[in-house]
């Protein structure tokens, strides 16, 4: 039966007294497959605790649906700058993504190249560890180096170190307008070159991706500034071909939502990998994969530093991870293919690093009751 504590204290009690391992669920929209037998939902831990637009700070209960948070921010013309993706289309899930799940997965979208990841916007956390102790770290202010930064450690720990109950986030103003420059017909190698050209310009590019809609470059800000930068980028990128500028903000938003959520893969079968590597290595890496006998569908984000791969063949994990030995980087198995068996979701870490991670997990969850086995 689903545990659904209505308060932090109830959550602490539930963890303390659990006889078996727990499978932590936020909105059940990003389940990467925790193995705990008892589902525990954070749905009862919602609510805005504090929102000060003038201080760019938001404190909310971890169970709050992300959509509600985004709506409240939008009312003040603000937003989560790291552009959290919605994985429901990708994973075929149907829950309501929560803020806690977003933080636990350090979910960040295309704007990561300019505005940082979720972990960079995370100012403070409260969580319950594997022994049922309530722990806080960080706070609600934007600069804080008081003691160790467990805030970062919790972001991306996928519920294996503690169950988040409350998070403080730095929010940013939403821009007055946005424009997208598009190039079409570029090879992967040329696309990375074009994106690199844009990202190494002084024009404060907030997105650089390559997929079904071609090669896309985004600029955001006040209208005169966006117009100025768009024009300069258009000139700069013209050596790669005809540059088409999308000025309509809603059309731009739709293009980037598709990149963010990897819409190109929705409704299609096959394993999905998320590969992080140096942009300059991306094209060579993809060439190596093809040489190895596979032909994945590819969406590039972060100027080529992030590759989304949808595999066409079966059991290609060895290839995906193996080819990274040459280029460096790591691959996460976001959606298992039919023949992927029990391949670890997360990229295996070198022994001394894995030793530290395991040590931390033992300290925060000595009984191994929080999403055991999920991360190693």
């Amino acid at each position: 039966m689903m545990l659904e504590p209505a308060s932090e204290a109830e959550l602490a009690e539930a963890i303390q007294s659990t006889p078996s391992a727990l499978h932590i669920v936020g909105g059940a929209s990003r389940g990467l497959g925790g193995s705990g037998s008892r589902p525990l939902s954070t749905r009862g831990l919602g609510g805005v605790k504090l929102y000060e637009p003038g201080a760019l700070t938001l404190v909310v209960g971890a169970g709050m649906p992300l959509a509600e948070v985004e709506a409240q921010l939008a009312a003040e013309r603000q937003r989560l700058a790291f552009e959290p993706a919605d994985w429901r289309g990708l994973l075929g899930t149907s829950g309501l993504p929560t803020v806690g799940g977003m933080v636990a997965g350090n979910i960040s979208g295309p704007r990561r190249v300019q505005a940082g990841a979720c972990r960079d916007a995370l100012l403070g956390v409260r969580f319950v560890d594997g022994q049922g102790q309530v722990i806080k770290n960080g706070g609600r202010v934007m600069k804080n180096v008081t003691g160790y930064d467990l805030v970062k450690l919790m972001a991306g720990s996928w519920g294996t170190l503690g169950v988040l109950t409350e998070v403080s986030l730095k929010v940013l103003p939403a821009p007055e307008t946005v424009a997208t420059l598009g190039l079409s017909g570029l090879s992967e190698a040329r696309a990375v070159e074009a994106m690199t050209d844009a990202l190494t310009s002084p024009y404060d590019v907030t997105g650089a991706a390559h997929g079904a809609e071609g090669t896309l470059i985004r600029v955001e800000g006040f209208a005169p500034s966006v117009a100025y930068r768009t024009e300069h980028l258009r000139q700069r990128l013209s050596r790669f071909g005809d540059v088409v500028v999308t000025d309509a903000a809603d059309r731009s938003a739709a293009l980037w939502k598709d990149i963010r959520d990897v819409a190109a893969f929705h409704g299609k079968p096959g394993a999905v990998w998320r590969v992080s590597l140096r942009p300059s290595a991306a094209a060579g890496y993809l060439a190596d994969l093809r040489q190895g006998g596979t032909s994945p569908e590819v969406v590039m984000d972060w100027g080529g530093g992030l590759l989304w791969l949808r595999m066409s063949g079966d059991a290609e994990a060895g290839l995906v991870r193996g080819a990274l030995a040459k280029t460096g980087g790591h691959a996460t198995l976001i959606r298992r293919g039919a023949a992927d068996g029990d391949i670890p979701i997360f990229h295996p870490e070198p022994a001394p690093v894995a030793h530290l991670s395991a040590g931390l997990r033992r300290k925060f969850d000595p009984r191994g009751v929080l999403n055991p086995g999920l991360m190693g």
């Binding site: 770290n137 467990l150 500034s225 100025y228 997360f346 690093v353």
Partner: protein, 484 residues
């Protein structure tokens, strides 16, 4: 501020430890002559001094590993050191410790403009990282005021910030990977030239761990293309409240300046007397800097001016050229020097929610009267990071203690209003005993358990960050030998 008594067990084997270190390091890299170890007796919190047992200056990661292996076997505490500019006593030695300085490790290992990365050895100074890439139009964003001297090593250990972090973030937001040596000599690579790392965010917890988890020898840093230009404006207000409201309105209007600096009257007066920057005589002064092309700058400044004028500034000064821009920054940049001219000073570093600014400044004014010590406030107003500078006289018996008590009251006030003890300088020894004000015992226990994993014997910089009473049981083994 108390430090633990040196362990007789360690002092007794001083000669042996020094001889073993000399075996693994080049000539001249082990410093043990008391005349020379004195150079390492303190950092920029110079009220506290204690020469170490020895200091070593390795030149490679492997040498760092060799040093740590020996110290680990001998049970000798090690205090890592960059440039020694910590204001928190983070690099303060104990008499039974070895200082491990990374100053000789200052090479640039790789620059990659396409991937917007630089890899350096961590002894390299902050400013010279930008120095290595600026002719090609790039820069390294975190810019602590001490950037000419401080090393990337210390920046990572303290998660240092700077005037421009409102837009670009602090060290942790610009750090992609490290090579780090654990206390037992194990060499680790964590993160790397990618925008995220697999597994737990160990890099995130290493950054800001004040030299207690490992010795960081190399770092992958993010570099950025330089903006086309930048320009500051200066505005004066007749009340702190009004200046605070103006900052909030600028931010609510969707403008994100690269810097918003705030100075209060005592600070303005001191700077004016010292640097003669031509600041207006007023209660509160803001310097707001924006970036972009000339047209973009003018557009943003026009928006800022509209907002500022609604708050009736006593002065709104734009810079017509480079020279006038320099003059606007001149006073702010010499603030510490100016206060230092008047007296000895202690620089605090708490952060508060921006909305609490008027209340906190009023309370600091009252405390200043109670303690009979003058205080000036410089403040990164966009992010709430305050730097109250308390003036005292080091030669007057009791003044330092009074100043410390005053400082502690200010930091407690920061926590009370929802802020924290330190925004960028770190805890070190300075705020160590105040940690219980901000954190409950289980919060501190969780942090200490991270150190247990990285450094089970608690040999790395052990007497810092956590109140000595809280860490005592973990430090008891020091001096005990570990089988090789």
């Amino acid at each position: 501020m108390q430090m633990p008594d040196p362990s007789p067990r360690i002092l007794a084997k001083r000669e042996r430890v020094i001889a073993r270190l000399a075996e693994v390091l080049p000539k001249g890299a082990v410093i043990s002559d008391p005349d020379e170890t004195r150079a390492y007796e303190c950092d920029a919190l110079s009220a506290y001094r204690c020469p170490p047992m020895a200091a070593v200056l390795p030149a490679t990661t492997e040498e760092v590993s060799a040093v740590l292996t020996i110290c680990h076997q001998e049970g000798v505490p090690v205090v890592p050191r960059g440039s020694g500019t910590s204001l928190a006593g983070g690099a303060l030695p104990t008499a039974d410790s070895v200082i491990l300085g990374v100053a000789r490790m200052n090479a640039v290992l790789e620059v990659d403009y396409d991937d917007r990365l630089i890899k350096v050895q961590t002894g390299r100074t902050n400013l010279s990282v930008t120095g290595a890439v600026e002719t090609d139009g790039f820069f390294y964003a975190p810019d602590p005021s001490s950037q000419l001297a401080c090393a990337i090593a210390g920046n990572i250990a303290m998660n240092s910030g700077g005037a421009h972090c409102l837009k670009y973030g602090v060290t942790t937001n610009n750090l992609l990977g490290v090579t780090m040596v654990q206390m037992d000599g194990t060499i680790l690579h964590i993160g790397g030239p990618y925008m995220d790392a697999p597994g737990l965010d160990l890099l995130g917890v290493i950054c800001g761990s004040e030299g207690q988890l490992g010795v960081v020898t190399e770092a992958w840093l993010r570099i950025l293309p330089k903006p086309e230009g930048a320009l500051p404006v200066l505005m004066g207000f007749d009340a702190n409240e009004v200046a605070g409201a103006c900052v909030a309105d600028i931010i609510k209007a969707g403008i994100l300046p690269v810097a918003i600096e705030f100075m209060d009257r005592p600070c303005i007066e001191a700077c004016e007397a010292f640097a003669k920057a031509g600041y207006p005589a007023c209660e509160a002064l803001l310097i707001v800097e924006v970036e972009g092309s000339p047209e973009e700058i003018q557009d943003q400044l026009r928006r800022i001016k509209d907002i500022a004028l609604r708050h009736n500034p006593v002065e709104f000064r734009e810079a017509a050229d480079e020279d006038q821009a320099k003059r606007i920054w001149l006073g702010r940049k010499s603030a510490f020097g100016a206060m230092g001219q008047i007296n000895d000073y202690m620089c605090l570093d708490g952060t508060i929610p921006v909305s609490a600014l008027p209340f906190v400044l009023r309370r600091i004014g009252e405390l200043s009267k109670d303690y009979g010590l003058a205080v000036g406030n410089v403040f990164h107003a966009g992010d709430g990071n305050m730097h109250p500078l308390i003036l005292y006289n080091a030669n007057k018996p009791g003044d330092l203690e009074r100043c410390e008590a005053f400082g502690a009251d200010i930091l407690k006030l920061c926590v009370e209003v929802g802020g924290c003890l330190t925004g960028e300088h770190g805890v070190g020894i300075e705020k160590r005993d105040l940690m219980t004000v901000q954190y409950a015992p289980q919060d501190l226990e969780a942090q200490m358990s991270v150190k247990d994993v990285f450094d089970p014997q608690w040999l790395l910089n052990p007497a810092k960050v956590f109140p000595l009473a809280n860490s005592a049981s973990r430090r008891f083994d020091q001096g005990k030998e570990v089988a090789a």
